[in-house]
């Protein structure tokens, strides 16, 4: 019975982690760092005080494979439970039939595990409980089982229901929607999709309502729209309400920094991607993360900077699980050996300021880049600045939209509003019939005082956003 309960608990825990948090497990690996290189211990850890942190970092390497990560996540609380089972077995008479008592702390262990991204708490608890079990085992070598409990506690009719209750309680802790892990899992999934350029998947998994309610989902959805070219058609559907919805400003949370890295990567602004990567790297106690090392390696391979790409690859080679990852990049590394890195830029150098000036400066240099143009124009629309929009659109449209035939829907909607003061706009730009009809209908509803109805009916339009 004891073996069955332990096996069952392990399998259930493994399944909970594996099926419930596969992307979070991968993310945990990315946010950790372990290497056998000399500086790692001397600069980051004060042993033995930080032993749990060190062991945690070692174990987190294996989380890049969710099945292995889930197994470790299941194993750590099971070590505590097993230790308790040993304690009970040594202290209580017929302790083997009291196994269910050792499972009692499981919901609490899971509660702490859900917040323990570095495994420090989990490893510490496992080590302490194993130590306690060993100590008690030694102390009770001569005599064991000196505490007696009434026979009721030994009954299988108590064991099975109690085990079921504990498993239920553990599951409710694990899958509590407000738990850190559940919130992180959603974002980790989006991060995973973005890293793999699966933009349509992001748009499938994030609804407009989700995007309005959740800042991460909103930003990933807007980034996905930009990547698919649909930003100027659907930006307001996904809750755009300010230029700050495009990026995270002055936030040092790892998820925020990871988003910013993806944002700048997508725009080909490698300096700012590198900037946010370094910022992400210094968040955990290790002073570096696997994610940051991998981003930096790929960025420098792309730039053709052999020295830095090799440096980061050499450091990754000091970890346990990067053999294949590095092997895939060796060819590229050998290709750039002896070449000059491409740090070229167009025009005068400029420094990062805030969203609109940055996009404007970048568009100035790369006028054929539609993503930059859309961020700039949608950013101005988000600021409800129709006049600036029209001035910019006048310059940008000749390059990007007029030749391609169709003006994106939100721009058409904005042009119709601008046309109220400047009717010549309508002679310059072609407005689709359905947009025109919608605008007439929206205006009629507004004029007849049915503002709420107008906003509901045309919820995702620029008109609804402005009025």
């Amino acid at each position: 019975m004891k073996k069955i309960l332990f096996s069952l608990a392990f399998v259930l825990l493994w399944a909970g982690w594996y099926f419930g948090f596969p992307y979070l497990l991968v993310w945990m690996e990315g946010f950790s760092f372990f290497t056998t290189l000399p500086d790692y211990i001397s600069l980051n850890f004060s042993l033995p005080r930080d032993m749990s942190s060190y062991v945690g970092a070692f174990l987190l390497q294996f989380y890049s494979c969710p099945a292995a990560g889930a197994a470790i996540q299941a194993l750590l609380p099971m070590l505590v439970i097993s230790s308790l089972a040993i304690l009970i077995g040594r202290l209580f008479k017929d302790g083997d039939t009291l196994t269910w008592i050792s499972f009692l702390p499981l919901p609490v262990l899971i509660y702490y595990q859900m917040k323990d991204m570095t495994l420090v708490v989990s490893v510490s608890l496992a080590v302490i409980s194993l130590g306690a079990a060993l100590l008690v085992s030694l102390l009770t070598l001569a005599r064991k089982g000196f505490v007696r409990l009434p026979s009721f506690f030994h009954s299988i009719y108590l064991t099975l229901p109690m085990f079921a209750v504990i498993v239920g309680a553990s599951a409710s802790v694990m899958f509590d929607e407000d738990s850190t892990c559940n919130r992180y899992e959603d974002v980790a999934y989006l991060e995973y999709l973005a890293e793999n350029d699966e933009w349509d998947e992001i748009l499938k998994s994030v609804s407009g309502r989700d995007a309005v309610a959740n800042g991460y989902k909103r930003r990933y959805a807007l980034l996905a729209l930009s990547q698919t070219g649909d930003l100027p058609d659907q930006a307001f559907r996904y809750g755009l309400s300010s230029v700050e919805d495009f990026l995270f400003y002055n936030e040092q949370m790892p998820f925020s920094l990871n988003f910013n890295i993806q944002f700048y990567r997508c725009l080909g602004m490698s300096n700012l991607a590198i900037y946010h990567t370094y910022q992400q790297a210094v968040q955990p106690v290790y002073g570096m993360t696997f994610d940051a090392l991998r981003y930096l390696t790929d960025l420098y391979l792309e730039i053709g900077d052999y020295r830095l790409a090799k440096k980061y690859m050499d450091i990754l080679a000091g970890s346990t699980c990067h053999g294949r990852w590095l092997e895939k990049r060796q060819w590229r590394l050998s290709q750039i050996k002896g070449t000059t890195p491409d740090y070229s830029y167009v025009g005068k150098r400029f420094t990062m300021e805030s969203f609109l000036p940055d996009m404007s400066a970048m568009y100035d240099r790369y006028p054929q880049n539609r993503k930059l143009a859309d961020y700039l124009l949608c950013g101005v629309l988000a600021e409800r600045d129709g006049n600036s929009f029209y001035r910019l659109f006048h310059i940008i449209s000749a390059n990007l939209y007029e030749e391609k035939g169709r003006i994106p829907r939100l721009y058409q909607e904005a042009l119709l509003l601008v046309a109220g003061k400047n009717p010549s706009v309508l002679q310059k730009y072609k407005i689709d019939k359905d947009v025109w009809d919608g605008f007439v209908d929206f205006t009629d509803l507004r004029r007849s005082g049915k503002i709420a109805e107008a906003r509901n009916k045309y919820a995702d339009t620029y008109w609804a956003y402005v009025y």
Binding site: L37, D39, L43, Y275, Y278, K311, F350
Partner: protein, 483 residues
């Protein structure tokens, strides 16, 4: 059981035979060996740590150190990196001191499976030793945030590196600008930035924290220069900003929007100012004392308008002003030693050699933070003649060469350079012989030469010290914070 016996026998045979691998290379080449770090033709101190090196991709390396035809030290390594034994290295240096040794390297690799013996190269061993310790800060290379950060000291005669003080107890406190009076490890100062921060002073066995924002002109102090007598510390008080370039190789620009200069009297706790160095238009920074303490050197930029904004015309001149330690007053006359409007560029970090003969500085195209400038190079002025001394051998084209300090005897210069990978500052040591000729610099030796590449921190503000600093552990409690 039989199978196990065979396996054990095979293992034992392999172990024994591995000791019999030939160390005689098949090919003899006139090529120079591709050793890293480049120690070819360098001049090293008579007490320097072993010059461990590597040949990338080699599976075995054999090295012999010869002098006058005699082999003084041999070492064979089954790795690409050579680890020389410390004791034997020390006796080798003792024998060759004041002369030259030839280094003969053979390597075995995929390219040369039967070995190649390269042409020998010389290493000169100076009569002069080097100060045994150097203190520096280890920090991530730039950007806004950091995590683990500390001021460390390294024994230059071995590979021992110890922390002097770190922020491990206080989260993300920034520690910077460590300084010592006259190379003495008995006194030390550094700033701790952040909650509960201040300037930590350790002098004559007394440890204290000074909050400059609440005394004198209430300015936060930045770059220090401890007077050789130990009584005064000159500080610049800078308001520093960072800019991030969106494109191009240089990622960051650091500049000041304000900087003044003041003197702190360590004995009385008073802050002494001079109105000339407290104006908004003149941005004085990087103070540095002459060895006799009678002059204060610094650099200064006159802002064309206020408020000060970053521009590519932010050029700093190098100036000096007399100082009377008895009355603690500055003299009237301010000399210009480097006039950027005439000579172009912008200079930083004036440092006078201990004999007062040379003035070493860093020159960049503009600005006051040359470590992020690829064009930044060291420059030197002969203070006896006022002429420039050619130190181009110390510089690497298109890579930042920057913060420098003199050894206490003035024969060695240590400076930071990003020549290794363009981003992480590493320390280089260079010899200046008594005739004033600069010699080829070499990378700070490491136990494993690959540590130069593996280390994820930059070396910052290397300062020679004549012994090991023993800062009381309570120093870290002075800026203890949970943040």
């Amino acid at each position: 059981m039989n199978r196990l016996k065979h396996v054990l026998l095979a293992g034992a045979s392999a172990f024994i035979l591995s000791g019999c691998i030939s160390w005689e290379p098949e090919t003899v080449s006139a090529e120079m060996p591709p050793v890293f770090p480049d120690y070819m033709g360098v001049t090293v101190p008579a007490n320097i740590a072993p010059l461990n090196f590597m040949i990338e991709g080699a599976s075995r390396v054999h090295v012999s150190f010869l002098s006058e035809g005699r082999t003084l030290l041999e070492c064979a390594c089954r790795d690409e990196a050579v680890a020389l034994p410390l004791k034997k290295w020390k006796s080798l240096l003792n024998e060759v001191k004041g002369g030259k040794m030839d280094v003969e390297v053979s390597a075995w690799s995929d390219r040369h499976p039967y070995g190649i013996k390269y042409a020998t190269f010389p290493i000169n061993v100076s009569d002069y030793g080097i100060d045994p310790w150097v203190a520096y800060r280890l920090i991530e290379p730039g950007y806004v945030g950091w995590r683990q950060l500390g001021i460390y000291q390294r024994d230059l005669t071995s590979f021992i590196e110890r922390a002097i003080v770190t922020n491990s107890k206080s989260g993300t406190t920034c520690l910077n600008c460590h300084n010592f009076p006259s190379y003495s490890p008995e006194s030390m100062m550094f700033h701790a930035r952040g909650k509960n921060g201040g300037t930590v002073l350790y002098h004559k066995g007394e440890l204290r924290k000074v909050d400059f924002s609440s005394i004198g002109p209430k300015k936060n102090t930045t770059y220090p220069a401890w007077h050789p007598d130990g009584r005064f510390i000159a500080f610049s008080a800078n308001t520093t900003r960072q800019l991030f370039f969106v494109e191009g190789k240089q990622p960051i620009e650091v500049f000041d929007t304000a900087s003044d200069m003041l003197i702190y009297d360590v004995v009385t706790g008073e802050v002494i100012t001079d109105r000339r160095f407290m104006t908004e238009e003149d941005l004085e920074t990087y103070p540095s004392w002459s060895p006799d303490g009678r002059y204060l050197y610094f650099v200064s930029h006159k802002a064309p308008s206020l408020p000060v904004k970053f521009s590519l015309d932010m050029n700093y001149d190098m100036l000096r002003v007399p100082f009377d330690p008895d009355s603690c007053t500055f003299g009237e006359k301010v000399d210009t030693l480097y006039d950027s409007s005439v000579r172009g560029g912008s200079v930083s970090y004036p440092r006078v050699s201990p004999d007062g003969h040379y003035l070493l500085y860093t020159r960049a195209d503009y600005g006051t933070f040359p470590i992020w400038h690829d064009e930044a190079d060291l420059g030197m002025i002969d203070l006896h003649t006022g002429e420039d001394v050619d130190v181009s051998v110390w510089n690497e084209e298109n890579e930042a060469d920057s913060y420098h300090s003199w050894s206490s005897d003035g024969r060695w210069v240590m400076f930071g350079s990003r020549r290794l990978d363009g981003r992480y500052t590493r320390l280089y040591i260079a010899f200046l012989d008594p005739s004033g000729t600069p010699h080829k610099p070499f990378l700070l030796p490491q136990k494993d030469p690959r540590e130069n590449q593996w280390r994820l921190k930059s070396y910052n503000v290397p300062e020679f010290i004549t012994g090991e600093v023993d800062l009381p552990s309570e120093a870290a409690d002075l800026f203890l914070s949970e943040d």
